[in-house]
Amino acid sequence: MTLDVRLKHRFAGFDLDVAFRSPGGVTALFGRSGCGKTSIVQAVAGLLRPDEGKITLADAQLLDTARRIEVPVHRRRMGYVFQEGRLFPHLSVRQNLLYGHWFTGGGTATELSRVVDLLGIAALLDRAPASLSGGEKQRVAIGRALLARPRLLLMDEPLAALDEARKAEILPYLEHLARESEVPILYVSHSLAEVTRLAAHVVVLDAGRVVRAGPASAVLSDPLAAGTLGAAGSGALLEGIVLCHTADGLTEVRIAAGTLLLPRLTAAPGSAVRLRISAEDVILSRQAPVGLSALNILPAEVLGLEPAGPGRVLVQLQLGSDRLLASLTERSALALGLAPGEPCHVVLKSVALASSGDAPD
């Protein structure tokens, strides 16, 4: 289900002027606080009326200011998960979950038990929202949105109000949801970790404009988006398959360009994993390096160089069918004679697991 968004809105202080398309699955709206992410989601939900705009979901026109079309909030069927949960304090968890049932027919017994299992909230059903922890509230809020049979799930920084432990508690459920659910998700976040774990598609925003949009792996390894993502943030996202666990406590993962060795993962052989390689963890070498302690050394080809701040460059590399970014000093780039089309070797100092294929327990 495609979502097409075109919006213009003048706020006191800044102008929002964006256009993007989400092809379905999880699309992340990524950017610093105050870049307009939440306004976009509110406009899609119908809680904010933009000065000008057109929003289409599949073949349904939700908004077209030129033709004076504006579907009211309650008829849009957008499952909105707010940053602060917004559970109804006068209703029990079960009543909160079934609230949408009165209006959309969602929340039949089968749907309820499926969502309750997916989110692990069976034990909370008869509790009052006031007695739940932040993480529990957020899981109930997600369930409530799902049970209203939404056409699109809008998640506005659903983890931002939680501490690290609670985030870690919910992320597996979100990953599971992102994979299982047929409902497309628009996920607002300023956390790169969340985006790399969840999103298939990324829209990078800065000061009310779209900086870059496209598949997650392409956007995150795009040197042009690096300014917004930050040096530590830019890097590459690679899909891999767990091959085997070695006797000396490592795990072999196959990626497009070859095999990587990672510290022992919990994922079983055969399962899909997502790996993140930060641009600062990549070393380049013109000759095949010998006598290094690094385990992961692969051949690659230089695609282009992009200046990234004083004295530094970002090198975009082709690694099999994947793309990789390396952050170097200008001096080393010159010394190595790096230019588009030149072959080289990449030495990976560290490879992080972005997400694993395991279902949450």
């Binding site: 909105y80 304090p89 009165w102």
Partner: protein, 233 residues
């Protein structure tokens, strides 16, 4: 049927006061909720005027309010004669007129309590309900109304207590007719005008004080219970 320690006239005043206050509160409650909603949430021209109008009985001398009611709802007055001819409703010198006077005098207190509770409701919860498919009416019925229930209960009980004590506007508008418009305060006033009425007046004062205290206690208990249920603890 009256208790032995009260004369028929005294008992009549007590029952009449309860009836007048009950109807005054019940009839003005829906209107009070609407006006409170308009004042708390409405953005329309004349909002300040409405606010002033609602609060007028609170600051005008009750005699003036009573006189204005007479000018408006008297048998020969514009609204009064229309209501009589169209619906056969008469306010002047009837217990219904006493209820109208009591309702008007209690209205500002009722609206104030309800308005405060509406302003305390987080509009974000109402937005959340709308995204789940609830139209504006359903949002009000399923989210706003349950959340402002303590305010409505408090407002109604406050209005009832105020109606029980209303004197100036009532006596000006509908006079002091035993059995028809002689409410508790009017009866106390009448007994104080006759040489040996002190004992009767004192009995009615005791009843008046008890009813007021009871109403206050009741409002506390009910509001607490409702608040506990709504906050989900």
């Amino acid at each position: 049927m009256e208790p032995g320690w009260l004369s028929a006239e005294e008992w009549q005043a007590v029952v009449l006061s309860l009836r007048v206050s009950f109807w005054a509160t019940l009839v003005s409650l829906p209107l009070g909720i609407l006006v409170a909603l308009a004042l708390a949430r409405g953005r329309f021209p004349g909002r300040q005027l409405l606010n002033g109008l609602v609060h007028l009985p609170l600051i005008l001398p009750p005699v003036v309010t009573g006189y204005l009611l007479l000018l408006t709802f008297g048998r020969k007055a514009p609204v009064g004669s229309f209501l009589y001819e169209a619906f056969g409703i008469v306010f002047a010198f009837r217990w219904t007129g006493a209820a109208l006077a009591a309702g008007v005098m209690a209205f500002p207190l009722m609206v104030r309590a309800i308005r405060l509770s509406i302003e305390a409701v987080d509009p974000k919860l109402e937005q959340a309900a709308a995204t789940l498919g609830a139209s504006r009416v359903w949002v009000f019925l399923t989210v706003t109304l349950p959340l402002i229930l303590p305010g409505i209960v408090a407002g109604a009980i406050l209005a009832f207590a105020k109606a029980m004590g209303e004197f100036g506007a009532t006596i000006t508008f509908v006079s002091n007719i035993p059995g028809e418009t002689q409410t508790l305060p009017s009866a106390i006033y009448s007994f104080l005008q006759v040489p040996d009425g002190d004992a009767a007046a004192f009995r009615l004062v005791l009843i008046s004080v008890s009813i007021a205290m009871l109403a206050l206690l009741l409002s506390e208990v009910v509001a607490q219970r409702v608040a506990r249920r709504i906050s989900g603890r």
